[in-house]
């Protein structure tokens, strides 16, 4: 086999390898879902962020409109300060509220945005005022037990 033949075969091999890498990046991983367009950052404070993680999706009406880019504890209020990047193409009213929701019973947590009715829209760097914390199962169970105990006390 001449040099040309070997080079062709090696070319086929390298091409297969590159196709495999592209397949892994696009079909198996989430490269395609990264929005490459411009974004703007907003923040929100939550009393409890639960299991929210960096890179968790930000959704509105179930549609992903951005990602969480930073989570930090606010040293003054002891609240969790969540920074998120939203697609520049989507503008939300200034009185939009944010909730930490869970996809399914055991799924990952994400931020749900519910638009308000204000005429002004959220600018880069602005903060969402109305927030609802993550539901912490232990707190729920504790509350439930407490209520049951209180009911039981009433009956006697």
């Amino acid at each position: 086999m001449g040099r040309k033949g070997i080079e062709t075969l090696v070319g086929v091999f390298v091409l297969l390898g590159l196709i495999a890498v592209v397949f892994l990046a696009l079909k198996a991983a989430n490269l395609a879902s990264f929005s490459t367009g411009p974004t703007y950052a907003i923040t929100a404070r939550f009393d409890n962020i639960g299991g929210l993680k960096v890179r968790a999706p930000v959704k509105s009406a179930g549609v992903t409109v951005g990602r969480v880019t930073g989570i930090a504890l606010d040293p003054q209020s002891y609240q969790g300060r969540v920074t998120m990047e939203l697609d520049a193409g989507v503008k939300f009213p200034a009185d939009t509220s944010a909730k930490i929701l869970t996809s399914g019973l055991l799924g990952d947590q994400y931020i749900g945005l519910e638009p308000g009715g204000s005429d002004k829209s959220l600018e880069a760097g602005s903060q969402i005022r109305m927030t609802q914390s993550a539901v912490v199962l232990e707190n729920l169970i504790g509350q439930f037990l407490y209520n049951r105990a209180a009911e039981g006390g009433d009956k006697k």
Partner: protein
């Protein structure tokens, strides 16, 4: 043997070991130094990629397919108990991209390509071809060893990527076509859970490291083989044993560095 004999023997072994380690380290540096020269004569590298990569393609693809099949079957068995069978795609993809792709490819690479490199170099040495090259003022390290080293480092990540991709397709065949998981859930769970840089990227870094390590070990064993039939056969065996252990050990270290901190 008295204590006065045992102590020097122990010291001698330790010094021997150190000497061999240092020797192999200098050999590695030599290979690295000669790699740019090999890249300048790229047709040598291409011939070696053909010998190392192309001929390993079939066994890598077949193993990847088999591993994907089995992963999907076993994963479904466990996941369906928890009603999470839809996550099968995620399980198969993460296992392959993070661990099984690089590691199994590394083991197969050591067995398929590493042994042939060791035997080839060992026989060249036994036939005094390397000595003849030196006589002609051709450095065998830059003419013979470096192209093979570069070719191994190039081939291995490509083979690992092919392994993972074929394995995921195998998981798709078993999970979606045979078991009947929803194809949309299969892919979307996978895409939401597999990260391009953290998972795919680190997997590729792993496979590059394994490729460099396996090729280096194979070349070193071949180059240092005793120039007899038994010497070459022993060197070939050592290549497989040391490469496999190196892949597994390095994999633990790399995994600990890359994936031990959940975010």
């Amino acid at each position: 043997m008295t204590a006065s004999d045992a102590l020097p023997a122990l010291g001698r072994r330790a010094l021997d070991l150190l000497q061999r380690l240092g020797h192999s380290a200098f050999f590695f540096l030599d290979l690295l130094r000669n790699a740019p020269a090999a890249l300048r004569r790229f047709y040598l590298v291409i011939a070696q990629v053909h010998a190392i990569g192309n001929y390993s393609l079939v066994i890598i693809a077949a193993s990847g397919l088999a591993v994907g099949f089995v992963l999907a079957l076993q994963g479904y068995y466990t996941l369906s108990r928890y009603g999470a069978a839809e996550s099968l795609g995620l399980l198969v993809a993460l296992s392959l991209v993070r661990e099984l792709g690089p590691v199994v490819t590394g083991l197969l690479f050591a067995g398929r390509a590493g042994t042939s490199l060791t035997a080839e170099i060992g026989l060249m040495k036994a036939g005094e071809q390397l000595a003849a090259m030196e006589m002609m003022a051709v450095d065998p390290k830059s003419r013979v060893l470096a192209p093979r080293f570069v070719a191994g480092a190039i081939s291995m990540p490509l083979l690992a990527a092919i392994f993972s991709a074929v394995g995921i397709l195998g998981g798709y065949v078993v999970g979606v076509l045979m078991i009947g998981i929803d194809p949309g859930a299969f892919w979307s769970q996978m895409q939401s859970g597999v990260d391009v840089w953290d998972d795919v990227g680190n997997g590729i870094i792993k496979s590059v490291v394994f490729g460099v390590a396996c090729t280096f070990i194979a070349l070193y064993q071949g180059y240092e083989a005793e120039a007899t039939p038994e010497g070459v056969s022993q060197a070939t065996t050592r290549t497989v044993v040391i490469s496999s252990l190196a892949v597994l050990g390095l994999d633990f270290v790399l995994t600990a560095l890359m994936f031990s901190t959940p975010r």
